[in-house]
Symmetry: C2
Subunit: 515 residues, 2 copies
């Protein structure tokens, strides 16, 4: 096909009848165009297709859609006896991330990563498929029952990781003396759990973890909570929206000690107590007694759990224990860190993972609509359960499959953000859309795109011969800032036509002067 002269068959007159094809947003946009685009270089243009498509297939495809749906996919009917249509949904409990969801995920993850960077944490990751043994603690945790585990072709027991902390501990043990403590590590990673899908939970989700390995003092927990507060503030969530309930497992430990309950039972007892809001209290009592806790001790444990102030706790436990000292220090540090109004003492917070040993905390929404948004604590004895020397450590999971308390908390979190109207504008943005006015000029359009991309501009290069109406519609959908049209006569003169789409301003520019 010969090159179409720029002056005879170039830009589109947006006639009123075309507007009916556009959605409201685009309509106002095209309205602006229709008044400003009628002449370009002082020449009137026709609304006809500029030229025929590259191939018969393209022809059919772009014809099929008409004005509004040009080129869109039309899944065919399933004919009996032909290939059976696959299940187009992702497996139960998992999800796809189409572009708009992916932008949201990237926005959230980038906030996780930026906060981690500000706090001087280094990013790490581990395989999502781990040896099952890493997760099969014997404390009756819900997380173990929900393990997504398999036997691989080599007859090895493997599992999709339900949480990140055991992998982190494994890597720390492996690194041994080569890494100087303290380590400050963070991960944003996928986790799985296999559970009944009755409660709208997901089986696959993402978690932001921050861990401090090698610091025994409460400064570490204070720093972790500070980082979560920073995340909340960054994305516009206030202390009137969410808060942290804080306690220490040492509270329970001190009670258990009074009743001479062996320390080996501690993790198991905590896991049972954590169920208190999910199953009837009598069930919890029964389980505790079955685990070897006396009735008297059970009563005392349950009483302590209802304490809501440090003063009251001090009355109960005395002022000499570590539980009180740690908690007092944490609340004192919270003042210095500037997040006192975000945290409150609540002895009922125990968390569902067996390995916590000291301070435990969880983020909650003050309206009480959601379950825990995040949670964490100190786990000073996890390393010895893996056969290594213990190292003081603490961390949190934001996404909270750490304690398998809530569904996809990033999803819940999105929900919170949506409710609070805090989600930013995450629409697709494009610097340029570049289009040849003639099939023979597609290579030239590619050259233009190449020049712009080298200068860091994002370019949606139109890869087919399409009517200008189509090009404007795509430009609007992609929020392109500028349109470059490569026409024959201009190209011969070494220039291209540029249009600033928001204002309608248009000008010619030499190829090497494009920015």
């Amino acid at each position: 096909m010969p090159a179409t002269p720029f002056s005879s068959c170039s830009y589109l007159i947006l006639q009123p009848r075309f507007n009916s094809y556009f959605n409201p947003l685009f309509r106002s946009f095209t309205y602006q165009l229709s008044t400003s685009l009628l002449s370009f270089n002082g020449i009137k243009f026709t609304a006809a297709r500029i030229h025929s498509s590259l191939s018969p297939a393209a022809e059919t495809e772009s014809q099929s859609g008409g004005g509004g749906r040009s080129g869109a996919l039309s899944p065919g009917p399933i004919v009996a006896g032909e290939v059976q249509r696959i299940d187009v949904n992702p497996p139960k409990g998992t999800r796809d991330f189409p572009p708009e969801e992916m932008r949201l995920r990237n926005w959230l993850f980038n906030n996780f990563k930026e906060v981690s960077r500000l706090y001087g944490f280094e990013e790490v990751d581990f395989p999502v498929l781990e040896n099952e043994a890493l997760f099969t603690r014997k404390a009756g945790e819900e997380i173990k029952d929900q393990l997504y585990c398999f036997e691989d072709r080599g007859n090895r027991r493997v599992a999709l990781r339900p949480e990140l902390t055991p992998s982190l501990a494994r890597l720390v043990i492996q690194k041994g003396k080569s890494v100087p403590l303290p380590l400050k590590w963070f991960t944003v990673g996928q986790c799985w759990r296999y559970e009944r899908m009755t409660r709208g939970r997901r089986r696959e989700h993402y978690q932001w973890n921050m861990d401090i390995i090698g610091v025994p003092g409460v400064m570490a927990e204070a720093e972790l909570i500070s980082s979560i507060v920073s995340l909340f503030k960054r994305i516009g969530i206030k202390d009137s929206d969410v808060g942290f309930k804080v306690s220490s497992r040492k509270v329970l430990q001190e009670v258990l000690k009074c009743y001479s309950i062996p320390e080996s039972l501690f993790g198991k007892v905590c896991v049972i107590i954590d169920k208190i809001e999910k199953i009837p209290v009598d069930e919890v009592k029964k389980e505790l007694m079955a685990a070897g806790v006396s009735q008297e001790a059970v009563q005392e444990l349950l009483q302590v759990l209802s304490v809501k102030s440090l003063t009251e706790l001090e009355e109960k436990l005395g002022s000499s224990g570590e539980a009180i000292a740690d908690l007092k220090q944490l609340f004192s540090l919270a003042e210095k860190f500037g997040y006192s109004e975000w945290i409150q003492f609540d002895a009922s917070v125990v968390r569902g993972l067996a390995y916590y040993t000291g301070i435990v905390f969880e983020g909650f929404d003050r309206e009480g609509k959601l379950r825990a948004i995040c949670g964490g604590g100190r786990y000073d004895h996890l390393f010895s359960t893996f056969g290594a020397d213990d190292i003081p450590a603490c961390g949190f999971g934001f996404g909270d499959a750490v304690v398998v308390e809530i569904p996809l908390s990033s999803l819940l979190f999105e929900q919170l953000l949506r409710e609070k109207g805090l989600l930013p504008d995450l629409s697709l943005q494009m610097d340029y859309i570049v289009c040849a006015l003639d099939e023979d000029l597609q290579g030239s359009a590619a050259m233009v795109a190449h020049v712009l991309r080298k200068k860091g501009q994002s370019v949606d290069l139109v890869l087919e011969s399409k009517p200008l109406k189509w090009v404007f519609k795509r430009a609007a959908r992609n929020n392109a800032q500028r349109l470059v049209l490569v026409g024959s006569s201009e190209w011969q003169r070494g220039v291209v036509g540029v249009k600033i789409l928001a204002t309608g301003e248009q000008y010619e520019v030499k190829l090497d002067e494009l920015i």
Copy 2:
């Protein structure tokens, strides 16, 4: 413990004997310090520990390491009868990403993402666990034999995705008319394959995919190759290092048509032919004949595969076919896109996936040390194999488990980058390290960190009481730019001491004037 006056017990004199603890890099750094730090505020300081640690545990831990290894982890001996030490290695064929590896991964992925953005592609993702049916094509592909598949607890057949394209096609079909074509989508995602680990291959790896859905013409393939060339150029790889071999499956299709071999056999035949460099030619011949290809056709196919120029191919096939037309157009566009010197015609390139239908290409290193670096092509009939209407489509995988040709190609790619000396400096960088000179001032140090972080500075807050020697060592390890020391007398005056670590310059600054 009372606040230690700033003037009596603050900064460290780096005495020569300490230097023996430092690595060479740090030695030169501390040398600089030793000449510039001897006096700060005109006061001489002692090298002693500033104050005792926060707790007995911290004391023990920081004492154990001495000067050079203070605070590092020491995995304990495994005592028989105690807890068995877990396997500290990730499962066979998978890997951890400790900080230094993670920085490398982020650097590479960020380059993938930036190139994709420049080309106007939108990011998407899919579950890593998919229904097995999505991948079980019946064309004898290696990828099917290496499927990491399981039965889940609900007796569903699931698989860890071996490639990304089928999930992408599934999502496109699911979205149906709601997405306007063409789609330009990219993914950077994890893929798995289960294979014998004899060749040092990995079972888990990452892949960068770019796909264009809805463009029938060769402009799409030209754009895809252009984006990979851009990636190479960005990271300093030249056309003297790598190139692309390009062919079209239509070449084979035209030969098969001559011998009246049914189109339904096409994918299978291509998969067999692709094995030609892996198994003896006689085996390939046998397999082809077993699949129903006549001996004559087999001879002709093998002859065509040896063709290395378009002219020769045109002599063989005639000039009227689509294969020649497509390839000519691609080479013509490559000139316009500016990457002619990167590509060459090579009929032996077939690729190992059944679904390719047109142009196929693969990236190779010119020294011939590595297997394909990336590969892709047109797959116009994939959608109908899923029971939907076909849509013209093409894409590539960089990481190349797409055709299960090479191991972790990002690893191979790293290898290439290392060999070429192209890896950038990816060491950890930190804006500040902040340290209290007294345990009572830790909250104040937290306030300082808070102020700096609000201003976007990354801060490694020292969470324990540590000797200054330790602090300087950590600062050097983390490439911290500035050290802030929070001392009692300064704090009372509302200032903190700041030291620019590269120059030794030091000054006092008010808290609200920190930047």
